[in-house]
C-alpha cells in the first residue's frame, strides 16, 4: 500500500540553524518517515515499529542503511531487508520469551503466585488491621468455591478452590509479607542511620537475617507437618505467607518504640510493652488462621473434607494442638525477638567510641 508523503511535497520547512548530527544513528527512532524533499540532512529512520530496540538485528540495520537512499520514498516498511530484520527480531523475541517461560515454570508456578497477589486496597487495609487487632474477628475459615465436575450417575465432585484475597479476608496473600519485609529492611537501615551506626554491609546482613528466619521457620513447619502426620495439603506458599505477617508487628514495634522513647531503642519498658502486644496479636492471628491447616476439618459436610474421613486418636489431637500452640506462641517469640533487637542511641554510640 502506498503511503502518500506526509506533508504535501510543496511545503517547505523554515530554515533552521541549529547543528544537525551528521552521523548515522543506530538507535531506532519512533518517528514517521522523513519528508521526501528536505534541503538538510536528517538522521535516517530505523524504526521497525518495535519499541524494544533489540540487538540481534544487525544485518537488518545494515540493510536499512544501504537501502535508505533508494527506498524511503515508498515507505520503509516495503524494504525487504527491513522486513527480514523484523521477522528475525520477532522470532528471536518469541523464542526468548518461550524459553524463559519454560524454565521459570519448572521452578515456580506463576499462576499460583498470581493468586497470592490478587489483592485490593480495602483488603490490604483490613488485613493489616486484622494482624494488629485480631481479637474480635469472627469467622476465620477461608471461603471456598465449589466446582462441579458433573459425571453422569456419580455424585458431583467438589474441588476445593479457595477464593482469592480480593474476595476473602481470611485468605493469605504474599503482597503484605513481601512489602513488610522490604519495609522492615529499610526501616532498620534508617534507624541505624539515625543513630549513626550505618555501614553499607548492614543492608545485606539484615536481608540475610530476615530470609534465614523465614526459611528456618518453614523448615520447622515442614518437619512438624511430617512428624504429626498431617494430611491436609497446605502449600508452602501459604505457610510462607503466614510466616511473613510477623514483619508487620516487628515494624510497628520498631517504629513506635523509636518514636515514643526518643531514640532509646527497644530494650526498655515502652519497647518491651509494644513488643509484647504485637507478639500477642501476631500469635493469636496465627493460632486462629492455622487451625484449619494443622487440625482436622471440623465441618459437617463430608464432601468438603477431601476424603480424609478418619477419626483421630485423642493423643494425636492433643499433640497437634500443643504443637500449634507452641508454634504460634513460643516460636514466634523467638523469631520476633530476633528481628526487633535494637540498641539505644547511647549504647551504640558508646560502643562505637570504645571500639
Amino acid at each position: 500500500m502506498q503511503r502518500s508523503p506526509f506533508p504535501p511535497p510543496n511545503a517547505k520547512s523554515p530554515e533552521l540553524f541549529h547543528p544537525r548530527p551528521q552521523h548515522i544513528s543506530q538507535v531506532p527512532h519512533l518517528r514517521s518517515p522523513p519528508l521526501p524533499n528536505q534541503p538538510q540532512q536528517q538522521p535516517p529512520v530505523n524504526s521497525y515499529g518495535n519499541p524494544y530496540g533489540s540487538p540481534p538485528m544487525q544485518q537488518g540495520q545494515g540493510g536499512m542503511e544501504n537501502a535508505y537512499g533508494q527506498q524511503y520514498v515508498n515507505g520503509f516498511m516495503n524494504d525487504p531487508n527491513a522486513q527480514m530484520g523484523l521477522q528475525i527480531g520477532k522470532s528471536a523475541m518469541m523464542t526468548g520469551a518461550h524459553y524463559m517461560e519454560q524454565n521459570l515454570n519448572r521452578y515456580v508456578s506463576v499462576s499460583a503466585l498470581k493468586h497470592y497477589f490478587n489483592v485490593s486496597n480495602s483488603y490490604v487495609v483490613r488485613k493489616l488491621l486484622l494482624v494488629l487487632l485480631p481479637w474480635r474477628h469472627r469467622p476465620w475459615t477461608r471461603q471456598q468455591t465449589r466446582l462441579h465436575a458433573g459425571h453422569d450417575g456419580s455424585s458431583p465432585q467438589y474441588s476445593n478452590m479457595y477464593l482469592p484475597p480480593r474476595d476473602d479476608l481470611n485468605s493469605p496473600d504474599m503482597y503484605i509479607p513481601i512489602m513488610s519485609l522490604i519495609t522492615y529492611i529499610l526501616l532498620s537501615t534508617v534507624l541505624a542511620g539515625i543513630r549513626g551506626t550505618f555501614r553499607p554491609e548492614i543492608l545485606g546482613s539484615i536481608t540475610t537475617t530476615s530470609i534465614v528466619v523465614i526459611v528456618f521457620e518453614l523448615l520447622i513447619l515442614r518437619t512438624a507437618i511430617y512428624l504429626l502426620n498431617i494430611t491436609n495439603e497446605s502449600s508452602l506458599l501459604d505457610l510462607a505467607a503466614y510466616a511473613g505477617y510477623k514483619f508487620v508487628g516487628v515494624i510497628v514495634t520498631l517504629f513506635l518504640s523509636e518514636v515514643f522513647t526518643g531514640g532509646r531503642g527497644t530494650n526498655n519498658w515502652i519497647g518491651w510493652a509494644i513488643f509484647l502486644y504485637t507478639w500477642n496479636a501476631n500469635s493469636f492471628f496465627l493460632l486462629r488462621s492455622l487451625k484449619y491447616v494443622l487440625l482436622p476439618d471440623s465441618s459437617n459436610d463430608p464432601a468438603l473434607r477431601g476424603g480424609a474421613n478418619y477419626t483421630m486418636a485423642r493423643s494425636q489431637r492433643n499433640a497437634r494442638t500443643y504443637s500449634l500452640f507452641a508454634y504460634a506462641y513460643i516460636f514466634q517469640l523467638i523469631c520476633m525477638w530476633a528481628l526487633s533487637r535494637e540498641d539505644g542511641v547511647a549504647a551504640s554510640v558508646l560502643g562505637r567510641a570504645n571500639a
Binding site: G204, S205, T208, V212, T223, Y226, L227, L228, N229, A313, Q316, A319
Partner: protein, 91 residues
C-alpha cells in the same frame, strides 16, 4: 567465608549439625535409647502387624533421623573435605 554473601556461618552451622546427626552410632547408641530401626521392627512382631506404626510421632522421628543419615552421608564427606581445604588454605 568471604565470598558467600554472609551465608558462610550458616553453611558451617548446618554442616556441623548434620555431622553430629550422621556420626551417631546405630547399634551402640540409638538402639540403647530406643531409636534404632531394629527396635521398631521388633515391636511389630510383638503386635502381630503394624498397628499404629507409621503414625506415631516416635516412629516417624526414627524414620526421619535414619533417612537423614543415609542420604547425607556421602554429600557430607564432600562438604567436609571442601571446608577443611578452605580452612587450611585460606586460614
Amino acid at each position: 567465608m568471604l565470598f558467600l554473601f554472609g551465608f558462610g556461618k550458616l553453611i558451617y552451622i548446618s554442616v556441623l549439625l548434620l555431622n553430629a546427626i550422621a556420626v551417631l552410632s546405630e547399634d551402640r547408641f540409638l538402639a540403647r535409647i530406643g531409636m534404632g530401626r531394629s527396635a521398631m521392627a521388633q515391636e511389630n512382631v510383638g503386635f502381630g502387624g503394624p498397628r499404629q506404626d507409621p503414625e506415631s510421632v516416635k516412629s516417624r522421628l526414627v524414620n526421619l533421623i535414619s533417612s537423614i543419615r543415609m542420604v547425607t552421608r556421602v554429600p557430607l564427606i564432600a562438604a567436609n573435605v571442601l571446608i577443611i581445604v578452605y580452612e587450611i588454605l585460606l586460614g
